[in-house]
């Protein structure tokens, strides 16, 4: 499976490499003045690898070369994902031991900067409104509580109490205030020199899914299926040239919602063939063959599958779960059945389209599927048939100790201009017998009997059956 996907994705190679650069291409400027001499701003071109899970979780591995002095030093990583889970950070390098790890989210804002200045001096620049002349004074910030109280020489004043333009000039940015939440690690290095540092952490805001678009042709009885890997990035950070592995399966996390919930189970026949060795391990992994660039606020889709003209058939189903009369007819369910031949399908969402009389594609239904291995018979329930209905009626019934009998009648109606066959399934047989029936049933298991009922165009068929249950 992994081999196949690998091949299928190979053509993406150059495509991803030349992807539009994310916002990291900036004019190189000097690091902020606040960086202490001992602090290393980490190099901006790391070797990234991502392991993306389908429940809003990504494992980021960031390998970069750093020139470190001997002894203690602090490394800052300002460009880690904004949605990092700091408690999952691990930093390893040869001859390096971690002393302390900090995730600072005290952000550099004007009020914070002023608060940190309490007890220190700032420059006050006033502009004379009449002349435009500027005067500069040195002031000490006394407090920042509902107003800034300053001492200028021997005077105590409140900043901008007169409403006149007054600029405040700071000589530096207070330490520990940053433009974005920043990870910093204090390390103890055995010796000075360049070494490879391996940083890994978990972050949220990145997820992937498989999405399929199938074009169903009712007349020709065929289906064309395209598969796309969808990677969604709302983490606040772009990932550039990342080696990417995708993991399917539910990984338990402690933080709330873990992934997608499936409305319907996969209605695949041949379930036995789906139990491969990898399923026992509870997840599947797919490695994208080439590095991928995912910008922030982007939904990226990479084509990975193209099944052309698979034979596909439409089917009508109705299931009666108990022996009850219905006051109103119910619509039969329409499904499209096909075999995915030699292509495995990672779990995801299948959207089926069909061309209308003008040749325009139109949606006919969608369903979530679990992982489907190659060569499975797959059936997708797409919707309710407007024109095909079934109405069951209990004509008579009796139940005694260890015995029950149900005389059923089913009115099947077809308003279509062609005959249809409905696969009518009666459940709750509980090892009972069909003792009388207007047409032959197939007993698919102990609890269920199935009748394939033909209904003429613009017509109706009445099916009758008597079920006796000894228990």
């Amino acid at each position: 499976m992994r081999g196949r996907l690998f091949c299928a994705l190979l053509f993406l190679a150059a495509g991803t490499a030349v992807a539009a650069p994310p916002s990291k291409h900036r004019k190189p400027v000097a690091p902020p003045a606040s960086s202490a001499a001992q602090t290393k701003q980490s190099a901006p071109q790391p070797q990234l690898s991502l392991t993306v899970y389908n429940n809003d979780l990504v494992m980021v591995q960031d390998i970069r070369e750093l020139d470190l002095p001997a002894g203690r030093s602090r490394i800052e990583f300002p460009d880690v994902s904004a949605a990092i889970r700091p408690e999952t950070v691990s930093l390893t390098a040869k001859g390096l031991s971690v002393v302390e790890q900090n995730f600072d989210y005290d952000l550099l804002t004007p009020p914070k900067m002023m608060e940190k200045q309490v007890g220190h001096d700032v420059q006050i620049v006033r502009t004379n409104p009449a002349t435009g002349a500027q005067t500069t004074e040195t002031a000490t910030v006394l407090s920042v509580n509902s107003g800034v109280v300053l001492r200028i020489g021997k005077r105590i004043e409140v900043l901008r109490d007169d409403g006149l333009p007054t600029r405040v000039v700071f000589s530096s940015i207070p330490e520990n205030l940053r433009a974005s939440p920043t990870l910093s690690v204090t390390v103890d290095s055995e010796g000075a020199g360049r070494r490879q540092v391996n940083l890994s952490y978990l972050a949220s805001g990145l997820s992937w899914a498989a999405d399929y678009v199938g074009m169903f042709d009712d007349k020709r009885g065929s289906l064309t299926l395209q598969g796309w890997i969808t990677i969604r990035n709302s983490s606040g950070t772009g990932f550039r040239n990342a080696e990417t592995e995708l993991i399917a399966g539910t990984i338990n996390t402690t933080s709330g919602d873990s992934g997608r919930h499936y409305a319907n189970g996969t209605s695949a026949a041949g379930m036995g063939s789906q139990r491969s060795a990898k399923e026992i391990a509870d997840f599947y992994s797919y490695r994208l063959p080439e590095r991928v660039t995912v910008a922030n606020q982007q939904t990226k889709q990479i084509g990975f599958l193209n099944i052309g003209n698979a034979r596909a058939t439409k089917r009508y189903d109705y299931q009666s779960y108990s022996f009850d009369s219905a006051t109103e007819p119910a619509h039969a369910t329409v499904s499209v059945a096909f075999n995915n031949a030699d292509e495995a399908l990672p779990e995801g969402t299948v959207r089926l389209y069909m061309r209308d009389y003008k040749g325009d594609p139109k949606f006919i239904g969608e369903q979530n599927i679990g992982h489907i291995s190659a060569g499975s018979d797959l059936r997708l329930e797409i919707g309710e048939a407007f024109d095909v209905t079934v109405q069951p009626t209990v004509v008579s019934s009796e139940s005694r100790l260890h015995y029950a009998r149900y005389e059923m009648s089913y009115d099947l109606r077809n308003a279509r201009s062609e005959p249809v066959t409905v696969r009518l399934r009666q459940s709750s047989l509980r090892n009972g017998k069909v003792t009388d029936e207007s047409q032959k049933s197939e007993r698919i298991d102990a609890d269920d009997a199935v009748w394939n009922v033909q209904i003429p165009a613009h017509g109706e068929t009445k099916l009758t059956a008597t079920i006796e249950i000894d228990s």
Binding site: T109, S180, Q297, F363, E366, F386, S397, R416
Partner: protein, 519 residues
């Protein structure tokens, strides 16, 4: 697979990708879907729902060079579900991106952290501008600028100052944009069809049945609702009748438009002592995300009852209704279009009562009011015979003096040709029933214990006209048998039903016996 191999060859040879922009579609078709039946009043109050959406088909023309190119599709619907995109006619599609990192004052500043900008100050006295180079040190909540080593906060001093940027930081775009990598085998003009699901659209159906003597006229209206902020002008609009299954988890991408916020040190000087708020309260970046709530203004735009009605045809197992004229589906608008206009439709008006299986305390019932039931057979011979999407049917009858009276409404499911449409309206007080338990008898013991009861129903027609009456008996899953009755019943809609006609002022009594397990 062969086509893809060719694609790989182009890619590996490192041919430069051409940038192709498709500004807008040449034409658009909108089809609106919903799963199940939607009530119009709920539709008007809602915002679309997860199982209702539009399906958009855009026809676009692009000029592609031979080899790889990136085609940018601008002006797609804002509520697009990128995963649902299907493109016909664009060769060699390998990868597509939907970008929504949008340019706003907030993102412009945020993407400029660490970059050089210009701080321009204006002297209000002289009008003279001074331009200084500054480096943005932070844009977390108010800009902090580094002006030649001196640190100042933007817009905190009361002076007139503004930031001037040299260019838009890379990656920021004006609108969410779809770009598709494609490889054309030959240069030329390609006509492509871009199809996708767009959320925040819905539709509902309503019927007005107007009794006109012995027949009724039936008018059907489709209400189209577009809660999105993308309008479609002069567009063939369609709705899909029927219930396609949806996963309920499709959704549009919601761009996070970071608002530029200004926070300064306390400027509103407060001379009155107040409790000081904790300086530890850190404003998280998420809280600053601008929440734009646009109140949807809805203009129900009722067209006059026109002879133009929607065209209906089969689409697979659904029904495709095409609006009679090209229409504008404007943003934040609901619109009503007639789709059914049938006259001289035969109908049945019956008075109905259903006897329950369980009698309250085994005692006699009081005189019971009966339900007025209007029933139309959806058959061509009866003047109808049209597929009727599920919706609300309102019945307007006439009173004794012939004045129209709204008598009630009911919800119907998708009704194909051949099935009845039944509307149970309010209660009639001049037709009455009084059911009575005449005799009860039990036989057998334990699990074989059975009860036999005789029921008498007195029916009175207080109207000066003959009425048709339907008396129904619930049968509890068919376990109850009717060994004796005045005249035979029919088994219909899961109940035993006796149908009779009562002359004006007639009072009749009918009897039947029930036999069933006693429990």
């Amino acid at each position: 697979v062969k086509r893809l191999a060719a694609a790989a060859l182009f890619a590996l040879t490192g041919a430069a990708e051409a940038d192709v922009v498709s500004e807008k579609p040449d034409s658009v078709v909108v089809a609106v879907y919903h799963e199940g039946t939607v009530d119009t009043r709920q539709l008007m109050e809602g915002t679309g729902g997860w199982d209702a959406f539009g399906f958009i088909v855009e026809t676009r023309t692009v000029d592609l060079p031979a080899g790889p190119s990136v085609v940018r599709f601008r002006d797609v619907a804002s509520t697009i579900v990128p995963e649902s995109i299907h493109i016909d006619g664009l060769p060699g599609q390998t990868e597509r991106d939907f970008d929504y990192d949008l340019l706003s004052p907030g993102t412009l500043l945020a993407h400029s952290v660490g970059r050089e900008v210009h701080l321009v100050r204006t002297d209000t006295k002289t009008g003279k501008e001074t331009d200084q180079t500054a480096i943005v040190r932070s844009a977390a909540d108010g800009a902090v600028l580094d002006i030649g080593g001196k640190i100042e906060a933007l817009d905190c001093s009361g002076t007139h100052e503004r930031l001037v940027f040299d260019d838009v930081p890379e990656g920021l775009i004006d609108k969410p944009t779809l770009s598709v990598r494609a490889i054309a085998p030959a240069a030329g003009r390609y006509t492509i069809r871009l199809s996708y699901i767009a959320m925040k659209m819905n539709w509902s159906a309503d019927y007005v049945a107007r009794v006109e003597g012995e027949t009724l006229s039936l008018t059907g209206w489709i209400t189209l609702a577009n809660f999105s902020d993308t309008g479609f002008r002069d567009t063939p609009a369609e709705v899909i009748g029927g219930s396609p299954h949806t996963t309920g988890s499709d959704h549009e991408v919601a761009p996070q438009v970071g608002a530029r916020t200004h926070q300064c040190w306390p400027l509103d000087v407060d001379w009155i002592e107040r409790p000081i708020s904790s300086p530890l309260a850190v404003v998280s970046q998420q809280e600053m995300v601008e929440t734009v709530v646009v109140a949807a203004s809805r203009r129900p735009e009722k067209l006059s009852s026109s002879p133009l009605t929607a065209d209906v045809r089969d689409f697979g197992d659904y029904k495709l209704y095409t609006m009679p004229v090209r229409t504008d589906v404007a943003a934040k608008q609901t619109k009503q279009v007639a789709f059914l206009d049938q006259h001289q439709v035969k109908f049945e008006k019956v008075y109905a009562f259903t006897v329950p299986v369980y009698w309250p305390n085994g005692e006699d019932m009081e005189v019971q009011p009966v339900t007025v039931r209007y029933r139309v057979q959806n058959k061509e011979a009866d003047g109808l015979g049209k597929p009727m999407p599920g919706g609300t049917v309102s019945v307007i009858d006439t009173d004794e003096r012939g004045a129209p009276v709204f008598v009630g409404q009911a919800s119907i499911d998708d009704t194909p040709v051949g099935l009845p449409v039944t509307v149970n309206t309010g209660e009639a007080f001049d037709v009455q029933v009084k059911p009575r338990l005449v005799a009860t008898e039990t036989t057998g013991t334990g699990r074989n214990k059975r009860s036999h009861i005789t029921i008498e129903v007195a029916i009175t027609n207080g109207k000066p006209a003959p009425v048709r009456f339907e008396l129904s008996q619930e049968l509890e899953g068919g376990e109850i048998r009717i060994p004796k009755e005045d005249f035979p019943h029919v088994l219909e809609e899961g109940v035993a039903r006796w149908k009779l006609t009562l002359a004006p002022g007639e009072h009749t009594i009918m009897h039947y016996e029930l036999d069933g397990p006693d429990d």
